[in-house]
Symmetry: C2
Subunit: 331 residues, 2 copies
Amino acid sequence: MEERAQNEPEAAALVSDTGLAARPSLCALKDRVRSGDPRALGRAATLVENQMPGGRELLDALFADTGRALTIGITGPPGAGKSTLVSQLTRVVRAQGKTVGILAIDPTSPYSHGAILGDRIRMQDHHSDAGVFIRSMATRGQLGGLARATFDVAMLLDASGRDVILIETVGTGQDEVDIAEMANVTVVVLAPGLGDDVQAIKAGIMEIADVFAINKADLPGADQLEQDIRTMQSFGESAERKAAAPVRRVIASEGRGIEDLLGAIMNVSNSRTGSRSSELAWQNRLRHMLRDYLYQAVPQAEIERHAQLISSRAESPYSAVEQIAKSVLPL
Amino acid sequence: MEERAQNEPEAAALVSDTGLAARPSLCALKDRVRSGDPRALGRAATLVENQMPGGRELLDALFADTGRALTIGITGPPGAGKSTLVSQLTRVVRAQGKTVGILAIDPTSPYSHGAILGDRIRMQDHHSDAGVFIRSMATRGQLGGLARATFDVAMLLDASGRDVILIETVGTGQDEVDIAEMANVTVVVLAPGLGDDVQAIKAGIMEIADVFAINKADLPGADQLEQDIRTMQSFGESAERKAAAPVRRVIASEGRGIEDLLGAIMNVSNSRTGSRSSELAWQNRLRHMLRDYLYQAVPQAEIERHAQLISSRAESPYSAVEQIAKSVLPL
């Protein structure tokens, strides 16, 4: 509350300025983000998340400081225990003296919107730790906006010197896959006993897993679940890349198996330090950013005019797209 | 199997032709789709889903025949019983003498990829009914491709004279929201007893519901669930539009409450017959299609060159996007 109140006048003040050098407050914010100040991070995150004036310049100015953090995507169906696992991974990483940034995109996450349904703030242990920065991302933004916003805030966390960034997201939908692909390492969390329907979800997320975590491994069905994963790996389309994704068993609620899981994550990360893998990741992200940018370049009046023609069946949708594109693209 | 084998040679033959008039096989396919032939529909769906040559021309040629079907989106968390509900709605619609098309996008759906985990083909009743066309859509396609493919196949079903099109999708992720927004009416299916985590998902899908279906209404917790929905409706941001979304209780496994639910769906549909609402829907779809079109217009070489610069921190991502866009856009 207090942060928001302070935030808005500052953002408003930035509107009239141009360029980072001409914006003392933005320059100060940049320095404070770089120093790791959590309040500055929160303010900066609000700027870039909502695409407020100054956010873009801030990201540009901080970009040279990025590229050091290890970004771990934690994904999986509701009920698999992702939030508890994120909390436990945070504990282990902190015990190693490293700092952590958490981005919660999962709508079921106890620290995001889901919290309105109850007081399920399992992360309370970490809320008083300045070495842990927690940010909930809205799950329903504008088209393609969630992946962009998540990536931008992750860059801020990276520039602020956070050693490890954990991105928690429920593993369905293209947006979630896009977000998982941003991470250096993607962990898919599954659990026995979620029922047929939920287990079936794993058919969709098998291919993005770098590491599998079987949570609640003390429950009956853990063996079967591991066997299912192995079976599906042997059928995998992208077998050459993902077949070897290691499987680790954890009991997150008791903190068991977490070090072992983190070790498997680090192994994957260490195997990917080449600049080639970084370039491929950037190709992916660039295409995303371009898509959103070009999308915004199309005038609303053109859209409205053609929507009317289509609605009256005077024009087909694909002809409309071609005509609008012709008016926007040089070709 | 047989269908696929027949399908590929035909698609290949189309490659060398240009224009629908010059393509006798495509012209014949169009006529057979219009006549409602299920085999032709399956073939046409494969063409447009995979963006094979001829697909675009087929959609253009059939567009004048679209706009008559009622499209119903069925969404909700895994375990809510969406597939059973789709099957029951199909039964009731068929009993009224109307034809049905079903698009299953949900990865947990028994007739999509989820089926590899078990023989859960609850739709077997309808498989022998020529008045019911069932198509499973792949859940992991290219960027933004799932929404496009779903929409294109729905247009084919519409042109083929299907009276009602049911689109089943698990309700998380931007793609799912996009798909739900394509439908004339969106039904959000919830059920008691799915656990805290799963219930929390509804925080994300409240806003897209035109109608709520509380499935498994005989289970304890149905009252509480309805109360939760009412409470959240009273807090809703888009209260003016969605606050009145009716709530209906069903027991899909026993076929109870289905007529009542369908009545609520028809009420919403009847209230939306104005051309204004059709135009707004088309604006939405046009923006989607344009985003994908423009995205594909960017040369891969440019992407690669800038990804390399970014990866070596010689350029910031947003500068890269601006430069690439400048080279593509006329401004």
